[in-house]
């Protein structure tokens, strides 16, 4: 997904796309508001875009909209193993929500998710930005070398990467423990990384940061190449040093990009499921469950489906809020750049 969203949001050539209908027939936009075209033909052209959009829209509504609605309905039901097997529908009002919102567990997991997301995003953004700026400073050959490394990390399928990290951090014969031991930290020789909450989160964080930095670094580098050289020349003429020209030219120029990227990363890390789940299934003792994993384990693992749905919905609400902020930023940017939506 990481890759995917980049291209639409960042590299979208986004020029004025809709330029009316060329050549024959009347512009459908005008037909709908009642132009002077023959009614039959006008209506046909007027409905054409809707017909073209219908299959995609129908698929989205059925396969995305329906599960969302279903999620909402499930969250108001008492649905455990018994009800599931007997196909019973027991409505229980807002009980699930009341239980979730008053339980200590839910808030602990939420706080954990927020801390986990913040730590990851800060690391990703700071390191990604630094590496992006480094890319801009390197010569062609070194830049190619570093980009190759970044693309390799970026391209690794999350589940494959998780498996590799399990091996790197394996207690016996794992490279990380060997290196720490050789560096003089002998108590780490057979350290079990998935044995405690903090060390498990450490591994997950290294994994997620490693996989997410390339997106930020490469796109940031691409963005720096679009900064007009004249701005730096002007800054130099005004007597600005390296740091001053960075803060007064580079940063303001990159600000919209950085803002949008922060939101994207927050959304991605917050809902990261494969890595967190696959590394230790939320263990030890359910101490590394973030909200999506918590919803999954409550709902499916412990077969409290209604409860799981309620937690999911609360998570979706948080994500929707984040997404709407993100979209607002992106849409505003497109408008500012003169692109027409």
């Amino acid at each position: 997904m990481a890759v995917a969203t980049t291209r639409t949001t960042r590299k979208d050539p986004g020029r004025p796309a809709a330029a009316g209908v060329p050549g024959r027939g009347a512009p459908p936009g005008r037909t709908r508001t009642g132009g002077g075209t023959p009614p039959g033909r006008g209506r046909l052209i007027g409905t054409a875009p809707y017909l073209l959009l219908l299959p995609a829209l129908a698929a989205t509504v059925v396969l995305l909209g329906w599960p969302l609605v279903k999620n909402g309905m499930l969250s108001f039901q008492n649905l455990n193993m018994r009800q599931l097997i007997q196909h019973l529908t027991e409505w229980n009002g807002v009980d699930n929500y009341r239980e979730a919102l008053t339980s200590e567990d839910f808030w602990r997991v939420t706080a954990r998710s927020v801390v986990f997301t913040s730590v990851n995003v800060v690391l990703i953004m700071v390191l990604g930005t630094l590496i992006g700026l480094l890319l801009a400073r390197l010569g062609t050959k070194m830049r190619l070398l570093l980009s190759t490394g970044l693309v390799l990390a970026w391209a690794m399928p999350p589940i494959a990467a998780t498996t590799v990290y399990q091996w790197l951090f394996a207690a016996r014969f794992g490279v990380v423990n060997w290196v720490l031991d050789k560096l003089g930290w002998h108590s780490m020789a057979d350290y079990n990384w998935t044995g405690s909450q903090f060390s498990t989160f450490f591994v997950i964080t290294v994994l997620i940061v490693w996989q997410s930095i390339p997106f930020v670094a490469i796109n940031l580098y691409a963005a720096t190449t679009t900064i007009p050289k004249e701005l730096y020349e002007a800054a130099a003429l005004d007597g600005a040093g390296a740091w001053r020209s960075f803060t007064s030219v580079t940063l303001p120029f990159l600000k919209p990009f950085l803002l949008a990227t922060v939101f994207l990363e927050v959304i991605w890390v917050f809902k990261a499921f494969p890595q967190v789940f696959a590394i230790n299934e939320g263990g030890p003792d359910r101490l590394t469950e973030t909200l999506p994993v918590y919803a999954f384990i409550e709902g499916v693992g412990n077969q409290h489906y209604g409860m799981g749905a309620a937690i999911s919905l609360l998570t979706i609400v948080i994500l929707l809020a984040l997404t709407s902020y993100y979209l607002r930023i992106v849409l505003k940017q497109e408008k500012d750049e003169g692109g027409e939506l």
Binding site: M1, V3, A4, R7, A17, A18, G20, V21, R24, P28, G29, L52, L53, P55, L57, A59, T60, L63, P67, L68, K70, N71, I131, L134, L138, G139, L145, L146, T148, G149, V151, A153, A155, P157, I159, A160, A161, T163, V164, Y165, Q166, W167, L168, A170, F173, V175, I213, I267, K271, P274, F277, P292, A295, F296, S312, T315, I316, L319, Y326, L341
Partner: protein, 276 residues
């Protein structure tokens, strides 16, 4: 602006350290996959697979159902991408070339859909599929993967369609083509890079998908490769050589596609299409 020797040295040194940090896990996956077990379980790591062997790949491919799962993954991924391409072509043409009421609304809908939190919707999807008695089938997986990649495909193809000069289409219609003909004969061939880019990205997304198949397809013969890989280490009792071979087999197509994408799929085919 001249930089001192040290000023030139540190960026390059940092770049090399960073290259190692980013490439090492990928290197270690392949290198472990090729090392004989005695080199894997050695007190000091063997850094280079000098006694390369294919035995771990054999263990991985001989695992139960491996080839069934390869077929499942390919079937699901390819059909999902193909279906989404068809739907997206129609939609993106409307969004890029026509003016109509609600156009902006459609665009925003697809943008929101692109950010859909599928990871957190799995319980509801499970209930729907279970009520439809379609668990352990590849059909729901295919359909959901199609919708997962559809918004991205639409939004990206829209840019590619819009980038095809309108004059090309117009001149085809002056020469007597109807609009659909103009689309098929003129625009479609020019969309090749766009179709390539979107289908490869769709392929990567669907190939990697994990949470949905985890909950929907428990039957070992109805799973896909990510699920198989996530359980491999448990099932094979810490056989890291075989686990890394399995991870390599799973990752290779994606790594290749990615490198290919970086070079090929970017860039316009149409730059010289309109003269003057």
């Amino acid at each position: 602006m001249k930089r001192s020797a040290a000023g030139r040295l540190w960026p390059n040194a940092t770049a090399i350290v960073l290259f190692v940090a980013f490439a090492f896990p990928v290197y270690w996956m392949f290198s472990t996959a090729f090392k004989p077990t005695s080199d894997i379980i050695s007190e000091d790591p063997v850094w280079f697979p000098t006694n390369a062997t294919f035995e771990h790949f054999k263990t991985a491919t001989d695992a139960d159902n491996f080839w069934t799962l390869v077929r499942n993954s390919l079937t699901v991924t390819v059909s999902a991408v193909a279906l989404s391409l068809v739907l997206a072509l129609l939609a993106s043409f409307a969004l890029a070339r026509m003016r109509f009421k609600g156009r902006r609304g459609f665009l925003v809908t697809f943008m929101i859909a692109q950010m859909a939190p599928w990871e957190v919707m799995v319980i509801a999807i499970y209930m729907i599929i279970r009520d439809g008695e379609m668990l352990n089938s590849l059909v729901p997986l295919t359909l959901f993967y199609m919708v997962m990649v559809l918004p991205f495909t639409i939004l990206t193809l829209r840019s590619y369609v819009a980038a095809v000069p309108k004059e090309l289409e117009e001149s085809a219609m002056v020469d007597g083509c109807t609009r659909p003909q103009a689309f098929i004969r003129v625009i479609f061939p020019l969309l090749a890079p766009g179709l390539m880019a979107t289908s490869l990205f769709g392929f990567i997304t669907a190939w990697n998908e994990f949470p949905l198949v985890l909950i929907l397809n428990k039957d070992p013969e109805a799973q896909t490769l990510p699920l198989w890989l996530s359980k491999f280490q448990t099932n094979f009792g810490d056989d890291w050589g075989a686990t890394m071979a399995a991870a390599s087999l799973f990752a290779i197509p994606i790594l290749l596609l990615f490198l290919f994408l970086q070079r090929k799929a970017v860039g316009g085919l149409t730059s010289g299409a309109v003269k003057g």
